[in-house]
């Protein structure tokens, strides 16, 4: 079988927008890539797939899944066939994300200071104060350059008509950027010459941009700031990413036990004694960051770090308390935030969201549970979710009861079909559902978004859950001019 036959045998899912194939054939931005593979034989595709798996294993590109209290290292499944996005579409996404982040950042500044948005009745106070990730400790804390969301990952999906929706904002410690970088380095090897020939926009600037922002935050105190990346340790599911970023930026990868606070200043324990730390890119969640303020049983954080931060002696990235802005119930208000703070219409749409604390919306949801996705407002990674059309009666019943019991903890959304993209599975090209997580970096000089981001794929047939912990994988994302 050659590639033409692969393509001919590729059947799109009915009612689903396919990234590559439309009624008239192949979409224009896939043309060049497709033409290069006219004569590729079936076994060559198989060999490329094998090579990709081998490269991932050799390079230790893994994530950790927790099962029965034990961490199991797994290769992050990778599909060799890239997802291609045309530049014009990307420009639209980019401007939409920039607008959204601008509003979210102002929201965080506002909600932790004057709270105009609450006073003006745009967002109910009860919604904010009942959010478990709203940190009263962050009230009136001076945040460097008023930037809260230094690193964000915005999850986008496409509905059946191809229009983009924001599914989630990840403003705390979004992960996946290392897979974006590794996917590209694997693509170079799988498809020689294709990246320059397709004029794919590069992603390799990401570590430099991130480092530039981190250094800019430290420059308030010293001309040569010490920047570190704080990891929960080798058993964290994103540890590979932590090491990759630390290595690419040439900064120390520290654990909580490597840091100590003295006189409201943070130091790391080195072989030459204590060394002052100016900027911490932390990948430890808020609740574990300082056992003196948050969870007292946390072994991952650093006692006293909160006060060092509050005094302005150390910059922590992302800021603490961002969880209030990416809470799934607050998400429903982001379009209103954009209108309120920026006086603009949102460029990127939200998925329609039903707020369970609203009685009418709750009643509607419970009546139509079969056609809804129900999510817990404070969970991520695809956990704590119900997909109505595939759930059993018992699961529907149990979720309905839980929603009635604590409505604030849930939101519901209609089931969005998610676009599909071709994946090489079992020797055939098959459509699988995808989303897109572009990564944005906000610094004193503005917002930078690396073109592309991470395309996550639901590798199981029929599934719309793309999370790696739930059987998802990823593919390289090419933005082509």
């Amino acid at each position: 079988m050659n590639f033409v036959e692969y393509f001919d045998n590729y059947v799109v899912i009915e009612g689903v927008f396919d990234e590559m194939k439309c009624v008239g054939g192949v979409r224009k931005h896939y043309d060049l890539f497709m033409n290069a593979f006219q004569n590729v034989k079936a076994d060559e595709m198989g060999l490329k797939d094998e090579l990709a798996k081998k490269l991932f294993l050799t390079q230790g590109i893994t994530f950790t899944v927790y099962s029965s209290g034990e961490g199991i290292e797994k290769i992050f499944p990778f599909d060799i066939y890239p997802r291609i996005i045309q530049a014009m579409e990307w420009d639209f996404i980019e401007s939409g994300i920039k607008q959204r982040l601008k509003a979210l950042n102002i929201f965080l500044k506002d909600v932790y200071s004057h709270q105009f948005i609450i006073k003006d009745g745009i967002i109910p106070a009860s919604l904010i104060y009942s959010c478990p990730n709203y940190l009263r400790e962050m009230m009136n804390v001076e945040v460097p350059f008023d930037i809260y969301t230094h690193i964000s990952g915005i999850d986008l999906i496409r509905d059946h008509d191809g229009s983009y929706y924001v599914l989630e904002d990840n403003l705390r410690t979004p992960s996946g950027v290392s897979y974006m970088l590794e996917n590209r380095s694997i693509s170079y090897r799988l498809f020689p010459n294709q990246i320059p020939e397709n004029k794919v926009r590069p992603v390799h600037d990401y570590p430099d941009l991130l480092m530039k922002n981190l250094l800019a935050l430290g420059n308030r105190h010293t001309s040569r700031p010490t920047v570190v990346l704080l990891t929960p340790g080798i058993y964290n599911s994103a540890y590979f990413e932590h090491t990759t970023l630390a290595r690419l930026m040439g900064i120390e990868l520290v654990e909580g036990r490597d840091l100590v606070v003295d006189n409201h200043k943070v130091y790391m324990r080195t072989t030459k004694g204590l060394k002052k730390v100016d900027v911490i890119y932390r990948r430890v969640d808020d609740e574990f960051l300082d056992p003196l303020i948050f969870r007292p049983d946390s072994m991952l954080g650093v006692p006293g770090i909160y006060h060092a931060y509050r005094k302005g002696n150390v910059a922590i990235i992302n800021a603490m308390g961002n969880g209030v802005a990416d809470d799934k119930a607050v998400y429903a208000y982001v379009p209103e935030m954009i209108r309120y703070y920026l006086n603009e219409e949102p460029i990127l749409k939200n998925v329609p969201t039903y707020r369970m604390e609203n009685m009418e919306e709750r009643t509607y949801t419970l009546k139509n549970l079969n056609n809804m996705v129900v999510k817990r407002t404070n969970e991520s990674g695809g956990y704590g979710m119900l997909i109505g059309n595939t759930a059993s009666e018992a699961e529907l019943q149990s979720f309905a009861e839980e929603i009635e019991k604590s409505p604030r903890q849930f939101i519901a959304q209609p089931i969005i079909s998610l676009s599909s993209a071709p994946c090489y599975i079992d020797g055939k090209l098959q459509p699988r559902r995808v989303d897109l997580r572009p990564f944005a970096l906000s610094g004193p000089d503005g917002v930078d978004i690396v073109p592309g981001g991470l395309t996550r794929v639901a590798l199981k047939e029929g599934s719309i859950v793309v999370n790696s912990s739930q059987g998802g994988g990823s593919k390289d994302t090419w933005v082509v001019d």
Partner: protein
């Protein structure tokens, strides 16, 4: 450098050096057993690698090798050494090169490969051991070619030479005890010969001593020969060399302690001449070993922040 990372690199290196020496000793031992020499006792080997606990039943060479190489329940098995080396490398990934990390990662996948275990069990164990030794050599090559000569490299080398010293002393002590430090029959000659092979010193010995196997000369080579990379004197000199490079990155007190402890071990070696008396030989080895353990203690206390 972070104290934790320094410790991780130090231990990664120790586990790899231990693996290399273990593999070479096992390889030589297995070949000797195929050569039909009577001093090879697999039950003793099992007991040695099982913290002194004998096997419940008599075991074949392949069973013992399987236990030492692949048994995850055996604390000192090679698979566990490699696992620990890799875990330490993971924690220090930002201070070692990507190539080095990938080499250890490959090693981890190699030793977990079922076909290698099958080869050991029902094929040719020497080929299986050769594959593992080759991966060790790859590790050393990558360290040499790719590792930047910074603090991490110095911890890597201090760990390597400390482990080599402890392993060499252990191997020599066992050999002296086994043969009483002498040659009573032709089998003792074979035994000393295999001992030299296991520590990669046979060819050098032949060149230096015109083929005569003499335990006194072997003892001298293993202790004092500066051209022999597994000798105690050579390894202490290398340990001292890399420790000195740590000076600019050390607190004054820490370095003083380190310099003193290494100097003391070197002085004991240098200013003792036990001759052919086995008791004196063993006492000297023991004294050097205990001083080297002090060096480890100094690293723990003053560099890695480990409290006893």
């Amino acid at each position: 450098m972070l104290s934790r990372v320094a410790e991780n690199i130090f231990w990664m290196s120790r586990y790899m050096e231990r693996t290399n020496m273990q593999l070479r000793i096992l390889r030589t031992y297995y070949i000797a057993s195929q050569d039909g020499v009577p001093f090879v006792k697999w039950d003793d080997v099992f007991r040695y690698y099982n913290q002194g606990i004998p096997a419940e039943k008599s075991l074949t060479a392949n069973e013992v090798l399987n236990f030492i190489l692949f048994d995850k329940d055996n604390e000192s098995s090679v698979v566990n050494n490699i696992f620990k080396a890799r875990e330490n490398a993971r924690s220090a990934q930002d201070h070692i090169t990507k190539e080095l990390w990938q080499c250890l990662n490959d090693y981890y996948h190699l030793i977990r490969d079922k076909s290698l275990q099958r080869q050991l069990y029902s094929g040719d164990p020497v080929s299986a051991l050769d594959q593992l030794v080759k991966q060790c050599m790859l590790y050393y090559g990558i360290v040499d070619i790719s590792m930047f000569r910074s603090e991490g490299f110095n911890y890597l080398n201090t760990g390597k030479y400390l482990e080599r010293l402890l392993q060499s002393i252990d191997a020599l002590t066992m050999q002296i005890s086994r043969t009483n430090g002498s040659i009573k029959d032709s089998m003792d000659i074979v035994s000393w010969r295999y001992f030299l092979v296991s520590i990669s010193g046979y060819e050098y010995y032949l060149k230096s001593n015109s083929g005569t196997v003499n335990p006194g000369l072997i003892f001298k080579q293993v202790l004092y020969e500066m051209h022999f990379p597994h000798s105690i004197a050579y390894s202490i000199a290398q340990l001292d060399r890399y420790a000195q490079r740590l000076k600019p990155e050390s607190l004054e007190e820490s370095y003083d302690k380190l310099e003193f402890s290494i100097g003391k071990a070197a002085a004991i070696l240098k200013y003792n001449s036990p001759g052919t008396d086995i008791g004196a030989q063993l006492a000297l080895l023991q004294s050097v070993e205990s001083n080297l353990l002090n060096v480890v203690q100094v690293f723990n206390e003053y560099y890695f922040g480990v409290t006893a």
